[in-house]
Amino acid sequence: MILKEYFKTNGLMMGWILLGLTFFWIVMLIVLPQLYMFELSFHPHLPPPEMGGPNDYLTLENYKYLAFGAEGNPDGYNKVDLAVFIRTLTAAAFVTVVDLLLCYPIAYYLGQSTGGGFVRLLVLLLIIPYWINEILRAFAFKIIFGDSGVLNEFLMFFAVIDGPIDFIRANVALYAGLGYAYILLMIFPMYNVIESLDRNQIEAARDMGAPWWMIHKRIVIPYAKPGISSGCTMVFMLSAGALAAPQILGGPSSLWFTQLVYQWFNTGGNWPQAAAYAIVLLVACLIIVLSVMKLFKVNMGDIGK
């Protein structure tokens, strides 16, 4: 009945094309690959011909490995990988918070200004770095933060420091690069929401004698909440899932969790193990984002606006 209506609306051919494309996208690209990866993470590492053969069985050993490490591990748990996991999530959260603090004033300024030529120029300037390749952006930070990078040379020239500081090892480069990489995804959701805030509301509050922090606390921030949460979600997920920036800007001793996944996958060739790690990353990120969204009472529908 409804399908009949549907084909009447779209026409037979177009109806099928639409259904086919959506089906392909949802089933073949989104749902099944994730499910299969999930399933694979419960299998042992076998050469491809033996997969599904008699040596194949379901196991939790890939997850156990993340928690407890290899058998006979003296620590009792997988100290290294778990530390990487926790550091990745906390660092991503840190980057998110810094981006939020950095971007809120800009988003507010751009959103509430009356859109003259100057503001348009600023928006243009905001967009340009975003279209530069992620790798090149990381590369730029490597140039800046390297031992003989611009920053070290600058500081030494003015004799602030005696010898070069190893920004890479201290992860300064990495955090700066990650914050930089996703800064736009923080600004634009906030900017879009704040732009739609009626200026009169702010004027009215000011008229009633509210100080500026009160205006933000009671009017702007509650209104901008969907934008803020959307921006934070994007930045957090992308930072936690970043691979290029840690590979290029990360210090030799500080791994990112995605790098472990990459190592299992490419260097180790152990797909099930990599799948398990990827699942853990995905689930952890989703739990964090969903609980934060719940905490701030924001809907899924607000994401991506």
Binding site: W25, M37, M51, I128, W131, R137, F139, G163
Partner: protein, 433 residues
């Protein structure tokens, strides 16, 4: 009150300056390094203005191939993700209201799933399909380009879908009804009325999809197999040794971005002006004192300046020959180095003397260091060739110290980092003298 608002203004201005320095500064610095003849991308020390990294870039086969694969992948990704995004958005408007939220969550989810997860899942899933169908391991389904297009489209289609949904929210369904009322079939109404309305969204989602595909790394690194796209090639280059030809590439990309951003701005502004005056574009742009293109359009002026600047730079690069300047630089450097080395020698001699005075035990302990410096002096003349100099000139401070006592091979084994660090500050002084 007045002074307070002035304070706020100054604070805001400072903040804006800092923020945009953070945003734009790295790109400018990176671009500048493309014009330094030093072998390592750096600004200080500045050697000689040079365009040599551009030809080097264009002659790099891996980069060229990467670009080729990026374009191929981008092309198919645009087609697949724009059509899937449009289909998804159209279905969203027609699906049972009860299912809408679930459906939306599913098609928006790929944006939130980390790229590495999408990359891995795409690869393992299609590898499984491949074995299930009993195909060869190098079949079409295992092809790197095929997998990369699918992996990228998984989430890029979500971006496109969002663009379409945003546009559709502004669509007046009354228009479709009007068309139906005038006798059009549903299909005709869609093609003639709604689809044209969606065209701008189609264009912008296509651009978005292409750029997202072009710069994607996290997913592509897992799916590309032997077809390394430009981004993958770049990442490998950046991770294992870098040279300014990457800066050159970055500079080109920055310029293209600025070019298109300004062009877009100009065209938008022009359209706006036309609408504001309530007349067709031709009417507005007719009969102004300024060339009509620029009237009331600062972006257009910037755009023109940009184009003229670009042409000037390119022309200059054709004519400009960095060799004489390089020669001068080398002479200069050689002179400085001579001084530096003399100073060092002097110091070393002084030290030696001092130590000798203090006693034989200490002398023995510094013997190694002394011998390390001496070979440098001996081989100085023979090793000091331009090639070596150039190679060593633009590396880190540490290696620079090596460069200034040329002939890495001659005493690389002796100059260990511990010794090096001690020398480096001295060297610095020597140079600033």
């Amino acid at each position: 009150m007045k002074s307070e608002s002035l304070l706020i203004r100054i604070g805001l201005a400072l903040y804006l300056i800092m923020f945009f320095t953070y945003l734009i500064g790295p790109l400018i610095l990176m671009s500048i390094t493309a014009f330094n003849s030093a072998a390592f991308p750096q600004i200080t020390p500045w050697e000689v203005l040079s365009f040599e990294w551009f030809p080097k870039l264009f002659n790099d086969d891996r980069i060229i191939n990467g670009l080729k694969y990026s374009l191929i992948v981008g092309f198919f990704t645009v087609i697949l993700s724009v059509s899937m995004g449009l289909a998804g958005a159209l279905i969203l408007t027609q699906i049972w209201p009860k299912m809408r939220a679930t459906y939306y969550t599913i098609i928006i989810a790929p944006i939130l799933v980390p790229g590495v997860v999408i990359g891995i899942s795409t690869l393992v899933f299609w590898a499984r399909i491949n074995t299930m169908l009993g195909l060869e391991p190098d079949s079409f389904l295992a092809n790197g380009i095929f997998l990369t297009v699918l992996g990228q489209s998984t989430f890029i289609a979500s971006y496109c879908m969002l663009v379409f949904v945003a546009r559709m929210q502004r669509y007046d369904t009354g228009l479709t009804e009007a068309a139906l009322d005038l006798g059009a079939s549903h299909v005709k109404a869609f093609r003639r009325i709604q689809l044209p309305f969606l065209m701008p969204a189609m264009a912008s989602s296509a651009v978005l999809a292409f750029l997202a595909s072009f710069e994607n790394y996290n997913t592509t690194i897992f799916t590309h197999q032997k077809f390394a796209t430009l981004t993958i090639v770049l990442s490998q280059k950046v991770r294992y040794g870098i040279d300014p030809s990457i800066s050159a590439l970055a500079f080109i990309i920055v310029c293209l971005t600025v070019f298109f951003a300004l062009l877009n701005e100009v065209l938008n502004r022009r359209k706006q002006l036309a609408v504001a005056n309530g007349a067709p574009v031709e009417a507005v742009t007719k009969g102004f004192k300024l060339p009509r293109f620029f009237s009331g359009n600062p972006a257009a002026i910037m755009f023109a300046v940009f184009v003229v600047g670009a042409i000037a730079v390119i022309t200059f690069a054709q004519v400009y020959d960095p060799e004489p300047a390089k020669q001068v630089f080398k002479e200069d450097k050689r002179a400085k180095q001579k001084i530096a080395i003399e100073v060092m020698q002097q110091k070393a001699l002084d030290q030696q003397r001092e130590k000798q005075m203090k006693g034989p035990k200490i002398f023995e302990s510094t013997d190694k260091k002394k011998s390390g410096e001496n070979p440098g002096q001996e081989t100085f003349g023979s090793v000091f060739k331009t090639d070596n100099l150039e190679e060593a000139a633009g590396t880190t401070n540490k290696t620079e110290a090596v460069g200034k006592n040329p002939g890495k091979s001659a005493f690389g084994s002796i100059w260990k980092s511990g010794n090096l660090d001690e020398i480096a500050p001295k060297d610095e002084k020597g140079e600033s003298n």
